[in-house]
């Protein structure tokens, strides 16, 4: 095994790329869960975003349009979930699962004509002299726009939740929907907005896979990333910056694992491939033992019916 082939700057640069899909999906799901809704359909929304984004990007030759389409696609799909769970009060767990199953089918259907199609090139954001900094340049400043946008979304979510009235109302709704309703806030409307935002973010995350990271369309290409994003929110104790931390840790692990495979480590490939999932489980276990899961919104997953 030749570990010298692993370059730390390249490792960190590719870590950021590898983490971006789950970071986007995770931060979106964080907002949804903060409003008190558990949407288990992240995987389905991601894969739908992946196919929408790829299709539009390839046809228009424009990555930005692709990402926009992915966000719209993910949001529309999430609103099916929103309508069923918020208006028709269906079970959130079952409906989220249905969303994942439906999304996998729908994406495969939409992606029929795009299997094997070559993706488009996405150029890094020209950051001028920053990109030429020794070491830091290739590590941090030669990425495509979505990497920076994902960071901006994390910062924005953090700031909105923490400093704005809209964020306050969102948190209050997730905390105690009965009290929020009693104070005159429209629980259902707030939650629908959060669900749509989560769908858009998951769509972006999926599209990042198909447009930038792979870049190609294959059926089922998200391979559990949506579920890892869900675990990420638990890991982060529902805090935005910790989602970033978790996503980058996970991204680092994935990249390291790929590098070890490439370097010819004497470990079966399959063991390395399953490592991210096993570690996610391990982290979940560590978090839930001890003090137990902390920071979960108190109304998470509970059904709300305005009986008044």
């Amino acid at each position: 095994m030749d570990l010298s082939s692993i370059n730390i700057y390249v490792l960190i640069a590719s870590l950021m790329v590898s983490a971006t899909p789950i970071l986007l999906a995770g931060i979106g799901e964080l907002v949804v869960e903060k409003s008190g809704v558990l949407n288990l359909g992240v995987e389905g929304m991601m894969i739908t975003g992946a196919v929408c984004g790829f299709a539009i990007a390839v046809q228009s030759g424009n990555a930005t349009l692709g990402f926009l389409a992915a966000a719209v696609g993910g949001a529309l799909l999430s609103l099916i979930f929103g309508f069923l769970t918020q208006v028709l009060m269906s079970n959130q767990v079952a409906t989220g699962l249905a969303l994942t199953l439906f999304g996998l089918g729908l994406s495969a259907l939409l992606g029929q004509g795009f299997i094997g199609v070559k993706g488009i090139d996405v150029n890094p954001v020209p950051l001028g002299p920053l990109a030429d900094l020794p070491g830091l340049g290739p590590m941090l400043f030669r990425h495509d726009g979505m990497v920076y946008i994902s960071l901006a979304i994390v910062a924005a979510v953090w700031a909105v939740l923490r400093f704005t009235r809209a964020g306050l109302i969102l948190r209050a709704t997730g905390e105690n929907h009965t009290a929020a309703h009693a104070l005159g806030y429209s629980v259902i409307r707030i939650r629908l907005a959060a669900i749509a935002f989560g769908g858009a973010c998951a769509g972006l995350g999926g599209a990042y896979l198909s447009i930038v990271r792979v870049p190609q369309w294959t059926e089922g290409m998200t391979a559990g990333a949506g579920w890892i994003a869900l675990a990420l929110v638990v890991f982060a104790s529902w805090r935005p910056w910790r989602v970033l931390l978790g996503a980058y840790l996970f991204g680092g692990l994935t990249v390291l694992q790929l590098n070890l495979q490439a370097a010819g480590a004497k470990v079966p490939v399959e063991l390395l491939s399953m490592a991210p999932y096993l570690l996610t489980i391990l982290v979940l276990v560590l978090i839930s033992t001890g003090r137990g899961v902390t920071g979960a919104p108190a109304s998470l997953g509970a059904r709300f019916h305005d009986s008044g």
Partner: protein, 509 residues
Amino acid sequence: MTALLHLQGISKSYPGVIANDSVDLTVEPGEIHALLGENGAGKSTLVKAIYGLIKPDAGQMAWDGEPYAPASPHAARGVGVAMVFQHFSLFDALTVAENVALGMDHPPRLRDLATEITRVSQDYGLPLDPRRTVGDLSAGERQRVEIIRCLLQNPRLLIMDEPTSVLTPAEADILFDALRQLRQEGRSVLYISHKLNEIRVLCDRATILRHGQVVGAADPTAASAAELAELMVGHRPEAISRPVHHISEIQALTVSQLSLHPRHEHDTPLRDITFAVSEGQILGIGGVAGNGQDGLLAALSGEQPTPANSVRLFDEPIGHLGPTARRARGLLTAPEERLGHAAVPDMSLTENTLLTGWRRSNLAHNGWLRWRSTRDLTQDVIGKFDVRTPGPEAPAQSLSGGNLQKFVVGREIRQSPKILIVNQPTWGVDAAAAAAIRQALTDLATAGAALIVISQDLDELAEIADSFAALNEGRLSPVRPMAELTTEDLGLMLGGASKIATPQTEAAQ
């Protein structure tokens, strides 16, 4: 002078209950007005109408002499009515300032609001740090959040629903000072309570409600606690005719130094509860809801295990045993919440019989359910206790409150308990069903079983109990024979003033 608020002939009824029956009430500017009555007397319904949460069926309200009919709390707040609820509408994970902001229609910036909160809290002597998380606050501090939320809106009438039920005596004194200051500023307070002592020290006038009707007005500073208690509780009814029965020397259940941590937020802990009940005896435990009744029932039923020796059944330690093992030994219970605790709402009566009867009534042989026996038993309960239902296959939630309660109590009585513990057996139950349930309970005691009846209804306990103790903030007063107690004693014990009323201290005086 125009009254601030004038109510005339307010009536409101719910299916099966008349909550308010032609109630008149006048609140003057700058007074603290007590609304006094037992639980279920209709106090909360009345203030909800004033705050715009419900619409009365009949009657008029006037505010400053103008007709007043608030369509929503928002409208009520608009004229200057503010209300502090008994169960707070707070968000535990948020800070004090955030909670206050959420309750305001046009909140200032959070930083300015924090300054404002600090100022108001200092002005009224209600210390509160706006940056703290509400979940970490004590009950008294949580209440302050609600009060300050109200005060920031500059109200002319502040309604407080049982504000001291969650306070320690020291916290209550702080609150009273703040309320007096409000009075000095010319604001009015409508103060709902059943605690006589505090009304006497705090309020200017009192209106007393019983069974939804105004039964009198009094000057609490002049009237004695005994007079107020008499008005509130009413005439003590004659004990129902029951055959002379024998209270055995054998103690069926002994509880000693039973303590229980709060099982969830807003739960009252149990502190050092000690009592015993004998075969043939009915022990009545009175007290306002939320003083630890649910916890006591859970500890006695076995849902909440405790140290083995804290609960003993015929001298066998059973504190560590679960509900099934306790039932097998003859300890049966009927909790307050009928749907979702005592019974599964969607399941049939037959299935609900199985719920508590499978072991003691041998309805599951090696795990195999004996549906025919279960149905027969259910049919028997329905017949014996006059449960009005289409049949044993009707789902529990299709029954009226009274009929379901007859079923729940009957289900346990039919299994011949050695000791039966019931919590609020006639709460929300129509009069006929309530009478039937009480009769069934006394019959059970006459037959030799020990009974514990936890109830908020003093009339009920006076009617059926042999002895009485009051549960107050998780503490149980000494047990005293019912026959010795005057109406005044009952009122005082409930108010947590049991110590001054024990015979020993009387003798010492």
